[in-house]
């Protein structure tokens, strides 16, 4: 494992009025790692993603992205689109596709920040624009093939079954060429077969050199997939470590199962 973390978060705090959804959270993710962020409902996991991706403005804390062999970048205060450009792409817990666009178009939107065509290019369709457009289609189709949706490329996104919508969100996020992929409960609502496929998909993505941070409630998936796990409860990090370490950590068991475990 490389020594320099690709993402480092220090003292991240997020308050909504009186509620402290995140409390001085520290977290490091290393290149090529699959990390998981777990915790009970309302622990602040989604809020963490929203702070990272510029949707929320954190109350305090430092967010730093330092890709290997590239200058590091502070993520604080960036707009969501700038965060995506910097190399963070995400999926949403409550699926946020573009329902009235086709499956292929959804992925093509992901290419927006990596392409340049402007209004006049679009009107004149000069060779440069045409080439770029063709590349966009080719890359997007390849991504759809990867997540197993190539044959429904022309369907409206809203017509896809739930599991397929989740995979489409992953393809769309990949189209932005991220360094770090953030997945918010990718297996929610999937049947065991779909979850199985998802597991190998996530592994494949990692093997291609991406780092992944996933939020997930499906413990089997988390334990089999993650190199490193962070556990949060009430916005605070209560434990971290490999799956073996976390599994037997009494604090984690207590957070998940409640007090009685201690006496059981």
């Amino acid at each position: 494992m490389s020594t320099e973390p690709i993402l480092s978060v220090r003292g991240l705090t997020m308050e909504f009025g009186g509620i402290r959804a995140l409390d001085k959270l520290d977290l490091q993710i290393y290149p090529g790692q699959i990390a998981a962020l777990i915790g009970p409902n309302g622990a602040g996991k989604t809020t963490f993603f929203n702070c990272l991706t510029g949707i929320y403005m954190p109350t305090a804390g430092e967010l730093h992205l330092s890709p290997p062999e590239q200058p590091g970048r502070r993520l604080n205060g960036l707009k969501p689109n700038q965060v995506t450009e910097a190399g963070l792409a995400r999926t949403f817990q409550n699926i946020r596709l573009f329902p009235g666009m086709t499956v292929l178009e959804n992925v093509m939107i992901g290419r927006h920040c990596r392409t340049k065509a402007k209004i006049f290019g679009a009107i004149l369709r000069n060779p440069g624009t045409r080439k770029e457009e063709k590349e966009t289609v080719d890359i997007s189709m390849a991504l759809l093939a990867k997540v197993g949706l190539a044959d429904v490329a022309d369907e409206f996104a809203r017509n896809l079954p739930y599991g397929a919508q989740r995979r489409l969100e992953i393809a769309r996020a990949l189209a932005t060429e991220p360094l770090l992929l953030l997945l918010d409960e990718p297996a929610a609502g999937m049947n065991p077969q779909e979850t199985q496929n998802l597991t190998s998909l996530i592994r494949n993505i990692r093997d291609e050199g991406l780092s992944i941070l996933l939020i997930e409630h499906d413990m089997k998936l988390v334990m089999s997939l993650s190199d490193y796990i962070f556990v949060v409860d009430y916005g605070r990090k209560i434990a971290e470590g490999t799956s073996e370490e976390v599994r037997i950590n009494p604090v984690v068991i207590k957070a998940y199962l409640g007090e009685e475990v201690e006496y059981a």
Partner: protein, 406 residues
């Protein structure tokens, strides 16, 4: 299930009474102020009652049949529901000849009809341009703009003022009008960047009113309510033209404008920018998370939409050789919005059909001109109930198959 139930009849009766009550002051009482007489037009009450009652009954029947069809479909295997219009436009064998015939019709229109008809058609075509422009903002990007006519006014007054003060000709003013309107679009865009939905609608409505009030009251600048007259008509290499020729020339000019608009907007819609605009309408947060700069894309939408209104405005000033603020009231914005909603948000063909219907029908049904607004309202309500996606639903194009026409 019967076609008509007792409940439907009762509903129809209530609807009839309710409408009779509502329209009573409007349709029954007529005050003759010169002779201080009140005229009671009771027969109107009868008409309203019968009309409302039967309309209610018809909707019930229609609904019933519709539901029954739905029910049947649900029992069959998976029924793929594709509307007639979608099938029509996705099948080039059928749609090409029809479109070709349409093109030919518009091309030889001035040869077939009187100058009066040509004039009306020119107006309708100008609304096609306006509708297509607003369609970018409302239909594609999903930003409800109720002050669109302001940009139309900007275009018209740009030409009128430039022509009055500096004698600038039509062809020079045309791009300038477009650019001015685009600038105003951006000007409006900045303060409303954070607004959505109703709030956006209210602010844009206000913007339209501000422009109108400025034009009305700042007489030194805009000549006030009296307007500006004697604007040069579009020239054609300095040729002298008779009145009829001028009208025909303007007709073809407008046709050219419509074609340009369709060409440009079609290309824009199927481009990186167009997709981003559409994504903005679909989901603003996801749109940003995909790396689209919300600020830029919103301003782009406003500027692009405004440009067409500006161009149409120059055309309008040139056609009438006269502009005054009365041409740019809220009613005009509402009209253009109706065109977009009725035709189908986001659909180019839909907007063209919508514009032709909404502008031409009232012209040819002058006898009913008193009920024009009533009919509009009814039409929109009916559309929203039975076909909310408009006459032509927006069809997404397929990018990856070779056989799909652009």
């Amino acid at each position: 299930m019967d076609v008509i139930t007792l409940k439907d009849c009762r509903k129809a009766l209530i609807a009839a009474l309710w409408f009779m009550f509502l329209t009573f002051p409007l349709l029954v009482i007529k005050v003759n102020t010169t002779e201080n007489l009140v005229i009671w037009r009771w027969h109107n009450l009868l008409y309203v009652g019968v009309a409302a009652g039967s309309a209610s009954l018809l909707t019930s029947i229609f609904r019933g049949l519709h539901d029954r069809k739905r029910e049947q479909q649900r029992h069959q295997e998976k029924v793929i529901h594709i509307s007639l219009t979608e099938r029509f436009f996705s099948n080039p064998v059928v749609s090409r000849p029809v479109l070709a015939a349409g093109a030919l019709f518009f091309l030889i229109f001035p040869l077939l009809f009187s100058t009066y008809q040509v004039n009306i058609m020119t107006t309708a075509l100008m609304y096609v341009v306006l509708g297509l422009g607003l369609n970018i903002v409302v239909g594609v990007a999903g930003l409800l703009n109720l002050g669109y006519v302001a940009f139309y006014a900007v275009g018209a007054y740009t030409y009128a003022l430039l022509n009055m003060h500096f004698g600038v000709g039509f062809w020079v003013a045309l791009p300038l009008g477009g650019i001015m309107a685009a600038l105003f679009g951006i000007l409006l865009g900045f303060p409303v960047l954070r607004l959505r939905g109703d709030y956006l609608a209210i602010v844009t409505l206000g913007f339209g009113e501000i422009i109108l009030l400025v034009l009305k009251n700042w007489a030194e600048f805009s000549q006030g309510p009296g307007g500006i007259s004697n604007i040069s008509r579009p020239g054609f290499f300095g040729m002298e033209m008779s009145m009829a020729t001028t009208l025909n020339y303007q007709y073809y000019l407008t046709i050219a404008m419509v074609l340009l608009t369709i060409f440009v907007i079609n290309r824009l819609q199927n481009s990186r920018i167009g997709r981003a605009l559409f994504a903005l309408r679909e989901d603003e947060i996801a749109c940003q998370a995909m790396g689209i700069d919300k600020t830029t894309i919103k301003l782009t939408a406003f500027a692009l939409g405004a440009t067409w209104a500006g161009l149409a405005g120059v055309l309008f000033a040139a056609k009438n050789a006269y502009v005054n603020p009365d041409s740019f009231t809220f009613l005009e914005s509402a009209m253009i919005l109706c065109i977009v909603v009725l035709g189908g948000m986001g659909s180019i063909v839909g907007v063209i059909i919508g514009a032709l219907i909404l502008i031409l029908l009232p012209e040819y049904l002058r006898a009913f001109s008193d009920y024009r607004m009533l009919a509009f309202g009814a039409l929109l309500v009916i559309m929203m109930v039975f076909r909310p996606q408009g006459i032509v639903a927006n069809i997404r194009r397929s990018y990856h198959k070779k056989d799909s026409a652009p």
